[in-house]
Amino acid sequence: MQKKEFSSHISNQLNRNLEELFNHILEMGGMVENQLDMALGALESGDVIAAKEVVRFDKIINQAEMEIDRLCIRVLARQQPAASDLRLILATIRIAIDLERMGDEVCKLAKLVIRFHKNEPCLCANYAGYAELVDITTRSREMLKVTLNAFARVSAEDAISILDQEEVVDHVYKKACKDVTEQFKKNSENVECLLEVMTALRASERLSDHALNIMESIIYLVQGKDVRNMDQERLTKFLEKM
């Protein structure tokens, strides 16, 4: 399947609307990428102003999701899309939801920076799990970039390339959780800060889950197959056939 197929309808109005949908998703994805970049910078440098900007940015991302919903409703009501066009609408709605939730998770990372700054400005990077937090966030950002490019090219093959990264993220996340738990046992004074790190770790791991959801939506768009909830064995078999 090629992207140009979505602009080869007899109805130019439908062509324009679907093109607009593609652009909206890529634009919204770009916003989340920016937000993630800012959050990463804030995590690494403890920059509170950047962290506050991340939180402010979230409102714009929420607006973008609503705009995509509005456009989808309009296309459904007025143009009754079928087949891959219909799958594009459904995939777009799902991707927009995932992007919006990614925005929420990124906000949690930014709020961690803000809270740490109030408590102990310089020590946050020394906490157990913090380096992994930055690592997972960086990998999730890369996964998002790959899936957005895959969506732009309407390529399921490109999208599934994030599966390896997801495995690494899972591994790093488990290790980080273990480290933080160990730290809990050793040092009860910093419980509050460690809890903050744990929350942020969870948020960063969720980022990669949402990227994975976007991959599933792209597979649905291209192949017409819903691969959500497929166990590893069935998914592997399906991906091999692709």
Binding site: S8, I10, A82
Partner: protein, 271 residues
């Protein structure tokens, strides 16, 4: 627990399968020629019982021609010749021993434009019964009421059965034609663009009627309106230039067709 079952993976992926259906009509390697021009090319398909099967495709693709084969309407055109086999419940429709009038009683048809006879509503519905020689007033009364109720028209006309049918609205006239077709209790009902001359509300009424009628009859419908095919049918056949291109359950055809040609047609792309 029931909720869990409702949303289990098995039920979610539950879809119609031809192999699980009882078959009403079986078409085998069916070819039709208008003179030397071949209009249908080796059509092979099975049409399931008590289901609605829609035929879609661009003008001239052969869908109406194929539909007319199912009650031998094409016999009325001198230049038509056919090859192959069509079985109605296992019986060869085109066998020399087949009584064509009897076949048309088993396979009723409703056309694009409502065509009531210039007679009373009552006489329109019992026309086929009278042709069969049924004179018993009680049988006629009961059948007319049953057919009009079946066509969802009874409440609107029960007090004026002796009025001329031509005084009904377009939508009512088409439902009357459906009542006339079902009054003789056919096995199969052929609908050739039954709503193309009707307004949207009458169209929805007919579509609702089709949904009810499939419990009793096997329904084959030709329609130019793809959304209508998507709304009313269980199976859809996409035809192009006399070929059966893709034939599968309607859900699959409209969400994930296997062939690009089908995809292009149903999504309105340049083929």
């Amino acid at each position: 627990m029931s909720e869990l079952k409702k949303f289990s993976m098995e039920s979610a992926s539950d879809k119609l399968r031809l192999e699980d259906e009882k078959i009403a009509i079986e078409v085998k390697d069916w070819n039709l020629y208008y003179g030397t021009k071949q209009a249908l090319h080796g059509i092979t398909m099975q049409l399931p019982e008590n289901r609605v099967t829609a035929f879609i495709g661009p003008s001239g693709c052969g869908k109406s021609t194929l539909l007319r084969c199912f009650n031998r309407m094409n016999d009325l055109i001198d230049t038509v010749s056919v090859e192959g086999s069509i079985l109605l419940h296992g019986e060869e429709m085109y066998s020399k021993r087949m009584d064509v009038s009897a076949l048309r009683r088993r396979v009723g048809m409703v056309f694009q434009k409502p065509n009531p006879f210039p007679k009373t509503i009552f006489e329109n519905v019992c026309y086929g019964l009278r042709l069969q020689g049924i004179k018993d007033k009680q049988v006629l009364d009961e059948t007319v009421e049953w057919a009009l109720r079946g066509a969802n028209l009874w409440e609107e006309v029960k007090d004026r059965l002796d009025d001329n049918a031509l005084g009904l609205s377009g939508g009512q006239q088409q439902r009357l034609c459906i009542a006339r077709a079902i009054a003789i209790k056919p096995e199969v009902l052929l609908l050739d663009e039954p709503t193309s001359a009707l307004d949207p509300i009458s169209t929805l009424a007919i579509e609702e009627l089709i949904f009810d009628l499939k419990k009793t009859f096997t329904i084959l419908i030709v329609t130019h309106n793809m959304q209508q095919a998507a709304r009313v049918s269980d199976y859809t056949a996409f035809m192009y230039m006399g070929d059966l291109v893709e034939y599968t359950d309607t859900d699959s055809l409209f969400t994930n067709p296997k062939l690009k040609q089908t995809e292009d047609y149903i999504s309105g792309r340049y083929g």
